[in-house]
Symmetry: D2
Subunit: 278 residues, 4 copies
Amino acid sequence: MSSEYRLLIDTTDEKGLVYNISKILFNYNLNIETNSEYVDKDVNKFFMRTVISGEFDKAALLADIKAVLPQDAAIKLSKNTKKDIVILATKEAHCLGDILIRYISGELHGNIKAVIANHDTLKDLVEKFNIPFVSISHEGLDREAHEKMMIQAIDTFHPEIIVLAKYMRILNPPFVNHFKDKILNIHHSFLPAFIGANPYKQAWERGVKIIGATAHYVTSDLDEGPIISQDIVRVDHTYSWEDMRDAGRNVEKVVLSNALNLLLNDKVFVYGNKTVVL
Amino acid sequence: MSSEYRLLIDTTDEKGLVYNISKILFNYNLNIETNSEYVDKDVNKFFMRTVISGEFDKAALLADIKAVLPQDAAIKLSKNTKKDIVILATKEAHCLGDILIRYISGELHGNIKAVIANHDTLKDLVEKFNIPFVSISHEGLDREAHEKMMIQAIDTFHPEIIVLAKYMRILNPPFVNHFKDKILNIHHSFLPAFIGANPYKQAWERGVKIIGATAHYVTSDLDEGPIISQDIVRVDHTYSWEDMRDAGRNVEKVVLSNALNLLLNDKVFVYGNKTVVL
Amino acid sequence: MSSEYRLLIDTTDEKGLVYNISKILFNYNLNIETNSEYVDKDVNKFFMRTVISGEFDKAALLADIKAVLPQDAAIKLSKNTKKDIVILATKEAHCLGDILIRYISGELHGNIKAVIANHDTLKDLVEKFNIPFVSISHEGLDREAHEKMMIQAIDTFHPEIIVLAKYMRILNPPFVNHFKDKILNIHHSFLPAFIGANPYKQAWERGVKIIGATAHYVTSDLDEGPIISQDIVRVDHTYSWEDMRDAGRNVEKVVLSNALNLLLNDKVFVYGNKTVVL
Amino acid sequence: MSSEYRLLIDTTDEKGLVYNISKILFNYNLNIETNSEYVDKDVNKFFMRTVISGEFDKAALLADIKAVLPQDAAIKLSKNTKKDIVILATKEAHCLGDILIRYISGELHGNIKAVIANHDTLKDLVEKFNIPFVSISHEGLDREAHEKMMIQAIDTFHPEIIVLAKYMRILNPPFVNHFKDKILNIHHSFLPAFIGANPYKQAWERGVKIIGATAHYVTSDLDEGPIISQDIVRVDHTYSWEDMRDAGRNVEKVVLSNALNLLLNDKVFVYGNKTVVL
């Protein structure tokens, strides 16, 4: 029985790309389940996500496609199987819990290999779901030493995606680069933005009427990587700052789970500091 | 100087479609400005919207593409110019006004040829914008006679799109069929739905917390044609039914203008009772 | 140490109500933590929710307030403690799971006494949280007999609120009346509405662009009781009906949890077929 | 015939406030049409908005209420009549146009006395509606001189509210203080925020998925005054920056008109850098 594969192409745009690629797919007699393309004329980039099925020689197909693409092209052929995930957390349960419930009810197209946290708070919750919980306290360690231990622990599980489910530690370039383009983060966001401690309290003092959440890839510039998904929730003057935080949690968990779903389905391309979702 | 054209293809899906079409475009040496495709596997339908530019023989291109497509294929090559619009209205100004303001400020990619109404209420407003206002009262006429006069008046202006901007008359099959796939309507919508007179009052009595608006193509089944765009606005118990109506107007005008924009840009395909927006 | 109480008044409106009530609260030397009132002029109804604190004789306060209100007044003095909840479910985990995660993380201002279901599917999930799971299959029972068993089981736990977390059985008047004004339901909702089997498939066939969820009190008229909370999520033509269902689940769980939160905080008044949320 | 008045009280909170105020209203035999109160416990502030009707001596009522309130109390008795508005604009028509259409169709509970702009672009549009258009170019003038002329022109019309409908000039403290608590502004807002020229282009480069709009009172700190209303619109990678700007315009005009509506109905209290909307 044949499987589905996702063919992802990310390259400089040039005349005839679609023709040249579709010719190869046609010659391999593949079924095209879905096909999406996007051209960003301003930066002359071409993106394609095609779901194909049929019997074929993977290496040969990749080689043939590579031959018709510009030098800088990135090609990926990803089987439609569940990806391995490691979740990092600290103390808050809302984002982690939402993913666990999806996981246990078969909604998540991924395998949670472990939850790793710098506190023990969530240990009981995670172990209810028979998922390994690894606790790596940062107490008494400098940032570098702690991150090294985290990297080591994460690597044990060989995840394709690392989800920061309210992991409340700043990540340094060595960590981020070690897991390049694999780290998904969620953070609250506000109009206007609030920097510093307890942004919910600042937002409350400022009387904001909406609270947002942004899911993004993590780059060295924390909270500033390419945005994958965003949404907001409405609040008003009757909300205490704790009410605002609770409202924010609702939108955070939904936005993070949606973004994770996009990653599990290979739907997100990154270029520059932005994403294309196909 | 060459122009942009929108090539729209709507056909039964089959292997090699993209290859065959892209081969022709490549051979004509056309620039692909944007390209979107969608396949609905459940009904085996293929949709493509490609914006092309370059010098070419239109008739030849269409013939060549037709030759590689299934028999039932619909092909359209639409120049990127402003389409002619006729707006039908009754007494309410919010949707009409929104379109007029976009028009006067150059935001609307279309020409408003006329506003035709069954009341005189909006005459002053329309004439401020130097647009012909045609008043065709339904008083003393049976539905059939009134619609015949409406058809005649509309035909004078040869519109590509007819916008029902809160035109409060039910349209009969002869009218709808005369302007098949050209009529855009906006109507309020509620969860749950309210049938009969003054739906806002019913919605208020029911204490709804959101009010929606739906823009759709008009088919013989009024308020039930293929949906193009929808949105909602939040309300609460402090809203009188007039407040709900005013809130509904805000969302109606934005949804209608957005849908009109999609039509002016040839972005909407209809099949069965649904749309694909590419 | 003194506690907080919520004083809820629901009565015919008349001149001097606020004066008369506030005079009593003042004479009892109570602290007013928050105070909200709403008058519906159309039906001449007055609603008040006041959070008070201080030392006082409950019975005396209630008697004094009763004395200054119209005959038909409903008065409730509810201590700010966690209410007991019983959740009814069938097979779907999303709404139940969301409540469980809030519960375990201390976010839910309520006690989950039990989950009662007509299938065993969710047993494992519920028992992870050390919450009693009662399975009452409807197989081989007529509706009346099954509901009697359900009522008996629920009554064992003396809940103040019964949450239908995707409980997929129609409830009959005897059941509904037994738990009058205590049953909270969530159901998907669409614009337009779809009646009958698999509404998500119908919505998909109709090409809706938004999917809603409505949390409401259950009355004899299922899916038609007073609305407490509503929200929507956007979808488009690329969604399969399963994608639409998954999107709908996101909005269902958030809307249900928000509505439950309002009930746990005594914020909802019901009158006619609508609610006032103070 | 008696009129409706809005009684607005903004004061330090203390025990017995509601009792003392409601006693006076009762003694004057006034009808309470609606009544809203809000107490911010964190800053010990009390806000009340009551709509009253009946025959009464205004000066006496105000004096009697003043007598029972703390020293710092602000009391306002505002007749339910249309307020005078002056609109400032530059070149963009969307916000101005939305207000004009509401005005002409009787939806706006206010009188537009004039539109004053630093460019002539909108002259034709405004004069269609028989509203004075005053053009005060900033060319050849320093900021101070230009603002003086603006103040003089605005003062001619004695507006109660000044609406900045995309007036693209920074306002200095002398201007802002001259019209303290009277200036309403709309500005686009983003998550994250973008500072400097062409924020839409920056937002596009950053690949944001939502675009917001914030209506707020203007204080000396432009774009940072107390927020009255906010909303957002969804965008995606297929939007050019011009598409994002157009989407932003939709949300700007609706948010500004909603905020203006709140001001015209005396529904907004300001304290610190936030608002209470009753």
